[in-house]
């Protein structure tokens, strides 16, 4: 029987599915509404594509289940057990908010209410020695209170447990005994064994809160699909850009907290790689926001400094995606100082842009694009029509009148500011990190990305823009392209000159062994194991570290130190050869390689692209509209060339090729623009 690889992206409104026939490499996509919990959508999407469930060899799923559970606070009541005297570490936090200056603005309350944060006498000192032994009687009494409250997921968070986990482990056993083997116990020393209590506790609590939700989701999905005859594997896409088995995802639910947006970054990197670009910037622009990611030498930048809700960090590695409020529905407005602004407020999809005729009268990017002729009068392949006169009125009243501009000029100003904001964000992730945008390709996707990609690329002198064949379902493709991945780390906190190569090797070996064990438990044959090493380092006395890759086959303390000095210089413009270096932490990524597949390639047939109609479109730098050919994406074949000015329409997006830009369609049916 033909076997399929399926990737699913369960989003807030839609569930996107991407199917690949493993034999032919042919693919198809399907899109269904997510409904309440996304569970039914998976099966419906598979049925809609007409693929029998037993034919699925592997299903990878990226989802916003954990993200939404946190945002909406829809998770079962959860408890925390912590060191006596430290009940409020997560409520006091770091005293930080994302809108610092607004006195009326407070952080949301912690995920676990104070009443459910219980304390036990115990204390481990900074060097890992036990100062106050765990009061086991009190520990048991607390476990019984938690049981009495009917709570089944508990975070155990003790001070300095990253140095010595013995008390947390003892507490965990007591809880498991009292609450039963099905209770989910998250130990901070297991979840994220790192210094700094707020970040570690917060991660552990997020994990304790969402793991039950993920467990329910994964178990139901598994049983539903098994009932339909699924024999293949279900893998869960996690924030770090890999997949977990269903069993691991239940234990480390918070690892999936940014599963949804990370997939887009992976897809961008893979698409660019297929086109021969090892460096790329991903621009995923939808209705309300734009997600921007960066890949350097084939590696996507990842971070451990992020959160779903500000103030409650999740310290698991997550692919770094910068989200800004720039989307098709972002509103143009004039501030009290008379400045023209764009976003982050958005008209969303309801009421949506003025042109949707659903009551909004304030101009959005979609309205401006419509006024300029860059968008046609229809979206979704004709399922939805846009009212150009409403868009014109909105641009006129919101912007043009105020500045004494024509509607066309005002629409250009609106788009230029949106592009400026996105260019700024791209600058932050590239120039801000010492990368020259001229060395990158921009992968523009999402519904709105292909309309804006060329202008942003020009703003930053990015020479190439890649527009994938299905811009609107690209994230699902990302879920398909990943391996099993466990991120492991160990705190070292020692000076480089106090360590020798042997010390370093044995520290890495220990992590590698743990990673190999995890992969074997997941049934991955050792021949498919792969390991990536890195070391987080800083000048002794500094607080932030930088990550230096380490060659597993050739570990040498001298090389590691030398690589740190050059890494520091690259990132921060200077080095201090004379200063001692501290190895803060080492990391091992244990990868279980999933069998590769290849997408089918098209062959150039020598044909020329043909357009069916044309319309006037205003481009940057022009005051007047140019009569511009309108192509259909479905008409484009490998090898086609088409130069700007041109517009390409497709069901899930619209592509703008400005005058001077030259496009070619490659064998993956990506459209490559030289801008």
């Amino acid at each position: 029987m033909t076997k399929y690889r399926v990737a699913v992206d369960v989003g807030g409104s839609f569930t996107d599915l991407f199917f690949v026939n493993e034999e032919t490499g042919e693919h198809m996509v399907s899109k269904v509404p997510s409904e309440s919990d996304g569970l039914n959508a998976v099966l419906k999407g598979i049925q809609k594509a007409g693929i029998p469930v037993p034919a699925i060899r592997m299903l990878t799923i990226g989802m916003t289940v954990a993200t939404n559970a946190i945002i909406e606070r829809k998770f079962p009541r959860t408890a925390m057990v912590t060191t006596e005297g430290f009940r409020d570490v997560i409520e006091i936090g770091r005293g930080y908010k994302d809108d610092l200056w607004d006195t009326n603005y407070d952080l949301a309350m912690p995920y676990v209410a104070r009443r459910d944060r219980l304390v036990v006498p115990e204390r481990v000192a900074a060097d890992g020695s036990v100062y106050t032994p765990l009061d086991t009687e009190r520990a048991r009494a607390i476990a019984r209170i938690i049981k009495k409250r009917g709570i089944e997921s508990v975070a155990v968070c003790f001070i300095n447990s990253f140095k010595n986990p013995v008390h947390e482990q003892a507490m965990g056993l007591i809880l498991q005994e009292e609450l039963g083997s099905d209770a989910l116990i998250s130990l901070s020393s297991d979840v994220l064994p790192e210094i700094f209590e707020h970040e570690r506790f917060s991660t552990t609590i997020a994990n304790a809160c969402v793991s039950p939700v993920i467990r329910t989701f994964v178990r139901r999905l598994t049983s539903d699909l098994k009932q339909e005859g699924l024999t293949g594997d279900i893998l869960i896409f996690h924030s770090g850009g890999g997949v977990l088995t269903a069993a691991s995802a239940e234990r480390y639910g918070a690892r999936t907290a940014s599963s949804g947006i990370a997939a887009g970054a992976i897809a961008a990197a893979r698409i660019a790689g297929n086109c021969g670009f090892q460096n790329c910037i991903g621009l995923d622009m939808g209705g309300t926001s734009a997600d921007i990611s960066i890949t350097v030498d084939g590696q996507i930048n990842s971070t451990t400094d992020w959160s779903i809700e500000f103030g409650y960090p999740i310290g698991f590695p997550s692919l770094e995606v910068l989200t800004i409020g720039a989307g098709g529905g972002s509103l143009a407005w004039i501030d009290a100082g008379g400045g023209l602004r764009n976003g982050p407020q958005s008209a969303g999809s309801n009421p949506g842009p003025a042109a949707y005729s659903k009551g909004n009268q304030q101009a959005t990017n979609t309205d401006a694009n419509l006024v300029l002729g860059r968008l046609g009068g229809e979206l979704l392949g004709g399922d939805m029509s846009l009212d150009k006169s409403k868009a014109e009125t909105a641009v006129q009243t919101t912007v043009a009148t105020h500045f004494g501009l024509s509607a066309t000029e005002a629409a250009q100003a609106v788009i230029n500011i949106a592009n400026g904001n996105m260019a700024q964000a791209v600058r932050t992730v590239s120039i801000g990190r010492g990368h020259d945008p001229r060395d990158f390709a921009l992968v523009a996707f999402g519904g709105a990305g292909p309309l804006h990609g060329a202008a942003i690329a020009r703003e930053l002198d990015i020479p190439t823009v890649i527009i994938p064949p299905n811009p609107g379902v690209t994230s699902a493709l990302g879920c398909l392209l990943v391996d099993l991945r466990h991120d492991l780390s160990a705190m070292i906190l020692r000076r480089g000159d106090e360590l020798d190569t042997g010390d370093l090797m044995s520290a890495f070996d220990k992590l590698r062994q743990e990673g190999a064990e995890r992969l074997e438990r997941e049934g991955i044959d050792p021949s498919h194991h792969r390991f990536e090493y890195s070391s987080d380092m800083r000048y002794l006395g500094q607080w932030r570290s930088i990550t230096v890759p380490v060659d597993p086959e050739n570990i040498s303390i001298e090389t590691v130190l030398a690589d740190f000095h050059s890494g520091h210089e690259h990132e921060y413009n200077y080095r201090r050869e004379e200063a001692p270096v501290e190895i803060f932490r080492i990391n091992v990524v244990a990868i279980g390689v999933t069998p590769p597949f290849e997408l089918a390639l098209g062959e150039p047939d020598g044909s020329e692209p043909e357009f069916r109609r044309s319309r006037p479109v205003v481009f940057d730098g022009n005051r007047e509209a140019i009569d511009t050919p309108i192509y259909q994406r479905t008409d484009l074949r490998a090898g086609h060339r088409l130069d700007g000015p041109a517009v390409i329409e497709q069901v899930d997006s619209t592509v703008l090729i400005p005058p001077g830009a030259r496009g070619t369609v490659d064998r993956y049916l990506n459209l490559i623009l030289a801008v």
């Binding site: 570490v89 006195t103 001070i159 400045g339």
Partner: protein, 658 residues
């Protein structure tokens, strides 16, 4: 696009709206890159946790743009630094130069804030300055951390650095740097921070020149002034919709360290709003103090601008903002420190000004009204750590935030400092690694929040044990609000007095909120809780269900739910969080309090103090019910202070009780 059309609000601008917006954001982004550089490469725990700022100034030293996460108290002083450098060096400023200064008498916040100022040239012409300010945990003087509470002049506080050139045409003047490092207690941190700061000014320069390359020097220079005009216009437009008039507020410091005694020290403020101009007059404020918490005019001005921005968070701060705000400070007072008056601890005065601006604007914009907030206290510990040996001292500079005041619409919270809204709370695990201390407690203190219809945020209880590795350790504590207790407003009640308990060899002393150079032995403990925020609105009008929730979460004890809120709560099963309100008893209790409370503030204090001494009532009863302030360590009544505090409570609390 380059359209230059008439626009009623910005007719003077030469720039089209897009170029303007792009450059405005470009300036912010340049400054953000500077801050990123500091954050990622700094050495001291102080700077790492946010005590630094970055900015871009035009060639005349005016502030154009500052960092998003800047320490608010720094921002409206950075133009002073830049202008001081210009005044000192004039035409003698060259490409490759960089200047350093910390001179408070030239308008720098205080000695610990080291400023690095880099001139930016384009084709040989000076076009701008980039600047980095960072708080060095020590800059010399008598006390580790340079907060010598007993200082009356700067000679015992710190090393004063008037503007000097530390990089001359690209060459680092190592000898001068060494002289500075020889005067600080932890030179390795300071060297690392200085380096991080200097590199960040270079990053700012690189980013600015990138904008010049792209948009041309003319447009960039034009945008420098346009951005300031924009902020001025923005601010004036917001003020236009508010009524004209004059408003007053008064807040107090506890006492003068050098001249201790009975009587709160007033800091007065009058704000006159005429059209779109604001004038602040601090006349009536007490004379210069014989200690280090005097503020200079620059600090007072910065306090006012930063607190105005808390009311208008959407308006950027730059020199355009300053055009709208005038300040009058009377000579010889604690808000006009001049050479050689001690002023490292200026923040204690600064925060009182912030609370007064808050109080005034609470009347003008009641929807954003707020009661008094606890700001922060400073604990500075220095000495030797046996783990690192005698070659180098350690320093722990631990600020602690507390609760913010209740709002007119909701409870107060926010565990951040008013002075530096971007200061992070420091991780305990980092502190224990860096200093020979073990933190004994770090959690919210029950009943610390001022009661109100909307209560204040909670104070934080924090304590330390000095481990066996501590040697020759000296500590200093800078706070306030032991007597001028954080007040409630619009009928709300005060929070709690700040104190500090030092336990040494079996003896415990309440050292109060302000002390310097006290020796801490290995095994000693120090407990230093911060204050909660004041309550807003009559606590008898708080929804009993909200009180019940607070009791379940142990923010409020059952006893104080009854005394402060008149809500009687019964325990059914604490394990199950099952508590209930006794509705009848609550009705009676609220009626009783309502009837008696005006009288409590008039009652003869002596018999009440006797009841306190017999243990019948507690500290919170004295303050919240009777407005009585004692010398907390000796337990004796302070009649003058009590009279002043009762006056304050009658104005801020009792006048709003129905």
């Amino acid at each position: 696009m380059s359209v230059h059309k008439e626009n009623p609000l910005s007719h003077e601008d030469r720039l089209d709206p897009v170029t303007f917006e792009v450059l405005k954001n470009g300036f912010s982004a340049a400054v953000e890159s500077m801050s990123d550089q500091v954050r990622r490469t700094c050495y001291s725990f102080t700077v790492f946790n946010g005590d630094f700022s970055s900015c871009l100034c035009d060639r005349d030293g005016n502030l154009v743009s500052h960092g998003r996460l800047d320490l608010s108290g720094h921002i409206a002083t950075m133009h002073n630094t830049c202008k001081a450098v210009i005044a000192e060096f004039g035409d003698d400023i060259h490409p490759g130069d960089a200047f350093v200064m910390n001179d408070a008498y030239a308008g720098n916040t205080h000695w610990n804030d080291i400023r690095v100022v880099l001139p930016v040239f384009h084709e040989g012409k000076l076009i701008a300055f980039t600047q980095s300010s960072a708080h060095w945990a020590d800059i010399g003087g008598n006390a580790p951390g340079s907060f010598d509470v007993s200082a009356t002049s700067y000679w015992s506080e710190a090393l004063r650095i008037t503007p000097i050139r530390l990089w001359s045409q690209g060459r680092f003047l190592r000898d001068i740097a060494r002289m500075i490092m020889a005067n600080v207690r932890v030179p390795s941190d300071s060297e690392g921070d200085l380096n991080a700061q200097y590199e960040s000014t270079l990053v700012g320069k690189r980013e600015l020149l990138r904008l010049v390359d792209k948009y041309g020097v003319e447009d960039v220079l034009e945008a420098f002034s346009a951005v300031q005009d924009y902020v001025e216009r923005f601010f004036r437009a917001r003020l236009e919709s508010l009524p004209d008039g004059s408003w007053e507020s008064i807040d107090y410091l506890d006492q003068d360290y050098g001249r201790p005694g009975d009587g709160l020290i007033p800091i007065k403020m009058k704000m006159i709003k005429q059209g779109t101009q604001l004038t602040f007059d601090l006349t009536g404020t007490a004379p210069t103090l014989a200690m280090n918490i005097n503020a200079h005019e620059g600090s007072a001005y910065s306090a006012i601008c930063a607190s105005l921005k808390l009311f208008f968070p959407e308006i950027p701060l730059n020199s355009g903002f300053f055009r709208v705000v005038d300040l009058k400070v009377p000579d010889g007072t604690l808000v006009s420190a001049k050479w050689p008056v001690a002023c490292t601890g200026h923040v204690m005065t600064y925060e009182k000004l912030v609370n007064s601006v808050q109080s005034i604007f609470s009347k003008i914009e009641p929807s954003r009204a707020m009661a008094c907030s606890f700001n922060l206290d400073y604990l500075l510990i220095g000495g030797y750590d046996r783990r690192i040996g005698d070659g180098q001292q350690y320093l722990l500079y631990d600020w602690l935030s507390g609760g913010w005041g209740g709002h007119s619409t909701k409870d107060g919270r926010c565990y951040s400092t008013l002075f530096g809204i971007s200061l992070k709370n420091q991780p305990v695990e980092g502190q224990e690694r860096l200093s020979p201390t073990m933190v004994t407690q770090y959690e919210l203190a029950a009943d610390s929040a001022g009661p109100g219809k909307y209560r204040g945020g909670m104070g934080i209880a924090k304590g330390y044990r000095f481990t066996d590795d501590a040697k020759d350790t000296i500590a200093t504590f800078v706070c306030n609000r032991a007597r001028a207790v954080v007040w409630g407003d619009a009928g709300g009640l005060p929070s709690c007095p700040v104190y500090s308990l030092h336990q040494s060899g079996g003896r415990t002393v309440d050292r109060g909120p302000l002390w310097a150079n006290v020796r801490m032995e290995a095994g000693d403990t120090l407990h230093r809780p911060s204050g909660g925020g004041g309550g807003y609105g009559d606590p008898l009008e708080r929804d009993p269900k909200a009180v019940l929730e607070d009791v379940i979460d142990e923010y409020v004890s059952i006893e104080r739910a009854r005394t402060d809120y008149g809500v009687v709560v019964k325990v059914i099963d604490a394990d199950l969080c099952d508590y209930r309100i006794d509705a009848d008893a609550t009705k009676l209790e609220r009626a009783r309090i309502r009837k008696q409370r005006h009288g409590w503030l008039e009652a003869d204090p002596e018999p009440i103090v006797e009841r306190f001494q017999r243990g019948e009532i507690g500290v919170l009863d004295l303050i919240r019910q009777y407005g009585i302030i004692l010398d907390w360590d000796s337990g004796s009544l302070l009649p003058n202070t009590t009279a002043q505090y009762r006056e304050l409570m009658k104005t801020r609390s009792a006048s709003a009780w129905k």
